[in-house]
């Protein structure tokens, strides 16, 4: 490390630092893909195809009608399920968080539903709702709502006592209290819940389609596998990965915006 540092010091500043950052960011991924390409070219393992083959399959499979028929509906259900989970989880969380009696009544039940592996709800929902798109959205909600709900309850409960007294002493209205105190105070916890809900929702979207569907991303990927369309299957995994990464990035942007005060405050207390 010291040798590296000494070398760095001799070279001109900002441009080089930018180059270095890019190298650090892209070095390993590029290297991995290259090695994979070289290895797969010489390999006879038919389950590991080269990156170029996958890219080609990706273009053939997903860019075109399949995007409209399989990908968009899946994403639509995912979005619908997430929005419903957030609205439901936050609304119920605020109510339960503020009413002690209700909270104590529901606590064991909520603990149970939080601990329930969400995919086991798929067969239940299939039984209750049939194999429909409603079922697939309800499945997403039934799994994704718990982390949001429980985190909201904790966040609402943990609202600082002096902040509450401040609101009391200035006779803030109920509505102002909700929007200016309770929700912002709980927002770091709510965002934690939403982050957990994102990955649960994505899992449920895929599984519910693998299980009971004749369209959608999950169905496609399972179909490719059953028919030994290896390159296409890899391209599906790639697409799911991309969706996961894009969701995480989008969430990160929203979170940074919503919790700017929170991160700023933490940075200052740490310094």
């Amino acid at each position: 490390m010291t040798a590296l540092g000494a070398k760095k010091a001799r070279l001109p500043g900002p441009v080089l630092r930018a180059v270095e950052n890019v190298l650090f960011a892209l070095g390993l991924p590029v290297l991995t893909v290259l090695l994979w390409g070289i290895w797969s070219a010489g390999s006879t393992n038919r389950f590991f195809v080269g990156p170029l083959t996958i890219l080609d399959a990706f273009r053939r499979t997903w860019i075109g009608p399949a995007f409209v028929d399989d990908v968009l509906p899946s994403l639509y259900r995912l979005a619908l399920g997430l929005v419903a989970s957030i609205l439901l989880g936050v609304a119920a969380g605020v109510v339960i968080g503020r009413l002690r009696l209700l909270r104590e009544l529901l606590e064991p039940l909520l603990e149970f539903f939080r601990a329930l592996p969400p995919p086991v709800l798929i067969p239940v929902m299939m039984l209750l709702l049939g194999i429909t798109d409603t079922m697939r959205v309800v499945v997403i909600v039934s799994g994704a709502v718990w982390p949001i709900l429980l985190n909201t309850i904790d966040g609402v409960r943990a609202t600082d006592s002096v902040m509450r007294e401040t609101a009391d002493s200035f006779r803030i209205t109920r509505w102002e209290r909700l929007w200016l105190l309770v929700l912002p105070a709980a927002s770091p916890r709510i965002m934690t819940g939403v982050r957990q809900a994102l990955s649960v929702a994505l899992i449920l979207m895929v599984i519910s389609e693998m299980f009971a569907s004749s369209a959608g991303l999950g169905y496609r990927i399972a179909y490719f596998q059953r028919n030994y369309l290896v390159a296409e299957m890899w391209s599906g995994i790639l697409l799911l990965g991309l969706i996961g990464v894009l969701l995480a990035v989008a969430f990160g942007l929203v979170e940074r915006r919503v919790l700017r005060w929170y991160h700023g405050m933490k940075e200052i207390t740490r310094a």
Partner: protein, 256 residues
């Protein structure tokens, strides 16, 4: 006391409500069976050895996957976390691989290993790995600067620094990661059985559904929920216990 009573009351209310829905004919008992039937099924199954065997399949897959993931994550996480160069170099890769939903790997795992436990382990390990790995990386990087300078000024050896500085700092992170990983591993153990079909509770759920056995289905779902609850309680207990001295836990305890 009040809490326990109210909690029991809530649970009772839930069960009574459930019983009433099919009784009043709101939903056909074929789709939502009587809670009394489900409880009866549970008591019957608890005395059946076959049930326990299935449960042990699921828990074996869970434990094996969790152990493999933890081992890999601790070794890699500590190795990468302690070397700033590696931490920087792997950052993009980690940020790209982590959000990939592990269920996306099910088809690949099935192609590679067939409809067996090993295919299930691939996705269990993949999902559980990241939970621990990320925490370990944070943990070993979180060593207090004053504590680090203190160690340096007393010229502790590398080994001593690992033992007395890095390990205690990283331990709470590791245990948090372990708790999260345990929950995730259970979810994927059951999911894999449902989708891949390796034997265990998950496969029984899928079989009950396709056989139209609503009572068995609801009973098995309840069992997986209780398992999840048990896993949560045990790991939370371990976390609390072994970290009784740790500040974050102390602060949390005081706040309650």
């Amino acid at each position: 006391m009040r809490k326990v009573l109210l909690g029991a009351l809530g649970l009772l209310g839930f069960l009574v409500g459930w019983q009433l829905i099919p009784t009043l004919g709101l939903v056909d008992p074929q789709y939502l069976p009587y809670v009394t039937d489900v409880l009866g099924w549970l008591f019957h199954e608890l005395r059946d050895l076959a049930f326990w065997r299935r449960l042990s399949y699921t828990m074996t897959a869970w434990a094996t996957g969790l152990a493999m993931a933890t081992f890999a994550a601790v070794v890699l996480g500590a190795g990468i976390g302690l070397v700033p160069f590696l931490r920087r170099a792997t950052h993009t890769m980690v940020e790209f691989l982590r959000p990939v939903p592990s269920v996306a790997l099910i088809p690949l795992a099935v192609l590679m290993f067939g409809l067996h436990l090993r295919a299930a382990l691939v996705i269990i390990v993949y999902a559980a790995f990241w939970q621990v790995f990320v925490q370990v990386i944070y943990g070993v990087a979180d060593v207090d600067t004053v504590a680090r300078d203190t160690a340096r000024s007393f010229r502790l050896t590398r080994r001593e620094r690992l033992r007395y500085l890095v390990l205690p700092t990283a331990l709470p992170y590791l245990l948090t990661g372990l708790r999260l990983a345990a929950a995730v591993a259970l979810i994927l153990a059951v999911t894999a059985e449902m989708v891949i079909g390796n034997p265990g509770l998950g496969r029984m759920i899928e079989l009950s559904r396709s056989a139209g056995d609503a009572v068995g289905l609801y009973g098995l779902v309840a069992v997986t929920g209780l398992l999840g609850l048990l896993v949560n309680v045990v790991f939370r207990f371990v976390e609390r216990r072994s970290l009784a001295w740790h500040q974050s836990v102390l602060a949390e305890g005081a706040a309650r």
